[in-house]
């Protein structure tokens, strides 16, 4: 299966990244550059969506069951949330930071991953596959955007050119938390239906619980004035935990020979 649409999408993500950086640095005609940046970004997201649709049809199921596909969808959701975030809030400073992550992921996807389509095993042939996996990945996109927004504030604060609204971070984390909760519950319901156990202490489940607990702490920080100042640190730790949940479980199974039902090929 050819990857033309994906390659074009990542090329345009990169073009958008360069243009957004120029806008953030206030170099060149700002309005024109911003318009071009957003246009590239929209087209890139559109091409990425076309690629995912094409791959879905080719494989006969949503492209979510290999590392290549799951990562591709995660990047797509992050790009989509970033685009929507910029459109609704106008906080464009966060966009290049997010697009750096998207571009790195694009490089890994195109040059370091195996794009070989993987058939769906019978255990995954369930309507829960269409609900549980995308919801969970979508939550990562919200958490990712929340971290990128905080990070962009610290990066651009150094340049003294950034406005920051902590409510944006909190709201993104609220949505992410809601989706991750839904992801964990739907995963439990699915496991109960397919394997007879809603919780099996599988490493992926446990790391999802750790991530969930860390964001739970984050959401409670505002109630305690002395803890509030640790918000960014907590956001950083919780976001790192997502990496562990998403990618780390594969390493755990290799390094520590821990068994998991959630390892990607």
């Amino acid at each position: 299966m050819n990857l033309v649409f994906l390659k074009l999408a990542f090329l345009l993500y990169f073009v958008a990244l360069v243009l957004y950086l120029l806008v953030a640095a206030r170099l060149g005609p700002r309005r024109v550059l911003h318009l071009l940046a957003r246009l590239s970004f929209v087209v890139a997201v559109g091409l990425h969506a076309v690629f995912l649709g094409q791959r879905w049809y080719f494989m006969g199921h949503p492209p979510l069951n290999s590392m290549f596909d799951a990562m591709g969808v995660t990047v797509f959701f992050l790009a989509l949330v970033t685009l929507l975030f910029e459109v609704f809030t106008g906080a464009y400073q966060a966009v290049p930071v997010s697009l750096i992550l998207v571009s790195i992921a694009g490089y890994v996807l195109l040059y370091k991953s195996n794009p070989q389509p993987v058939p769906l095993m019978p255990a995954l042939m369930s309507y829960w596959f269409y609900i549980h996996v995308p919801i969970t990945i979508f939550s990562y996109a919200f958490f990712g955007m929340a971290f990128m927004y905080d990070l962009s504030y610290y990066l651009f604060r150094f340049l003294r050119r950034s406005e920051y609204n902590p409510r944006y971070t909190k709201n993104l984390i609220f949505w992410g938390f809601l989706l991750l909760t839904a992801g964990i519950f739907t995963g439990s319901a699915w496991a109960n239906e397919a394997w007879g156990s809603y919780w099996a202490w599988d490493p992926k489940e446990v790391w999802s619980l750790i991530t969930w607990s860390l964001y739970l702490i984050y959401l409670h920080l505002e109630f305690h004035p002395s803890l509030k100042r640790y918000a960014f640190l907590m956001n950083l730790i919780a976001f790192s935990s997502i990496f562990m949940t998403f990618l780390g479980v594969n390493w755990l199974t290799k390094i520590f020979s821990v068994e998991s039902m959630h390892t990607y090929m």
Partner: protein, 344 residues
């Protein structure tokens, strides 16, 4: 008493308890669980193993310290809810039922749903009975953990699909009947994501085991007939060596898109000589094609048989977990709506 109450109603206590629970959660994913000392000593030094055992990291999710932390967390949650309720009652008396008071009560019910979830987990832990059973087609097996219960398998089949030239399993399907004290109570065709449910009991399709009924034929006579499990070495009837049969694909083949059957795959079984340290191919066995063995005997495939593996489980905690989970999610949805959308 007041000091204990103050500590237990503190949000800082909640944070500390969660932070203390996390190392146990992490340990369970990086330290191999419930292994023997000899196995641990291959990975860790004796000193490290001593610490891991003392902290309970070798069985992290059943460690007394972890259970104590969960119990304290539950207590902390209860006391926080009680303190919050008392505070809200006071505010309600002073200021009436304001939006903040209403949201506060919602928050208490929200935390109550977590307690329902925890109650469900405990009920699961005390009520759970589970086991596995493998049944041959046409036979009935007892469910060892559940006296009086039996499972009959009428048939089992594997459907395959053509995934761009690669034949892969599409579905594992079993027609089963549950019997209680010899009386049939439920019959259903189940597959991986569609179990059989009867009261608190659920029977899941979980695995399969392949067998082959083979005959050893000499020039004049049938020497022996055996039911052989694939991938398990078995001795030749002449006693001069071992054979091993590879797993096979047998069933209907479907296209990736659509439900029209393409063909039926007959069993094609690769036969190897088992040498102890390795294997040597001997031939391919099919219903029409015997394999000539090195000792001159002919190996004939009489029948390929697939037994179905089931997992069964009784769990009285599931309804509470579902109730708690749904309540938690709906109240979280409301909270997100009020906080993130309405900005309250």
């Amino acid at each position: 008493m007041k000091v204990i109450y103050d500590v237990l109603k503190s949000l800082k206590t909640t944070v500390v308890l969660i932070v203390l629970m996390i190392p146990y959660l992490v340990a369970g994913t990086i330290v191999p669980q419930n292994k023997t000392d000899a196995e641990y000593l291959r990975v860790f030094s004796a000193g490290t193993l001593k610490w891991l055992k003392a902290l309970g990291f070798t069985d992290a999710y059943h460690a007394p310290i972890f259970h104590l932390l969960v119990a304290l967390f539950t207590l902390n949650l209860l006391v926080c809810m009680w303190a919050g309720y008392r505070y809200l009652r006071r505010v309600q008396k002073e200021q009436g039922t304001t939006r903040q008071v209403w949201l506060g009560y919602l928050g208490i019910v929200f935390h109550l749903s977590m307690l329902i979830l925890l109650a469900g987990f405990i009920l699961t832990a005390v009520s759970k009975k589970s086991g596995t059973v493998v049944v041959m087609p046409g036979e009935t097996e007892v469910l060892p953990e559940l006296p009086g219960y039996q499972l009959k398998l009428y048939w089992f089949r594997i459907d395959y699909m053509d995934f761009h030239g690669r034949v892969t399993p599409k579905a594992y399907v079993s027609d089963v009947e549950l019997l209680v004290r010899g009386r049939p109570v439920a019959r259903e065709t189940i597959n991986v994501n569609h179990p059989l449910k009867y009261g608190d009991l659920t029977v899941y399709q979980s695995s399969y085991v392949q067998f082959a009924r083979v005959a050893f034929v000499s020039d004049t006579d049938t020497v022996d007939v055996q039911l052989v499990r694939v991938q398990s070495p078995f001795v030749l009837p002449t006693g001069d060596g071992f054979l091993i049969l590879d797993s096979y694909q047998m069933g209907d083949l479907y296209p990736l898109h659509g439900h029209e059957k393409i063909t039926t795959l007959p069993p094609r079984i690769l036969v190897y000589r088992f040498m102890g340290h390795g294997v040597q191919p001997v031939g391919t066995l099919t219903p029409d094609q015997p394999v000539i063995l090195p000792n001159g005997l002919k190996l004939v495939l009489l029948e390929a048989v697939e037994a179905s593996g089931f997992q069964y489980r009784v769990d009285k905690g599931v309804p509470l977990v579902y109730l708690g989970g749904i309540l938690f999610f709906l109240l979280l949805l409301l909270r997100v709506y009020f906080r993130a959308v309405k900005g309250w």
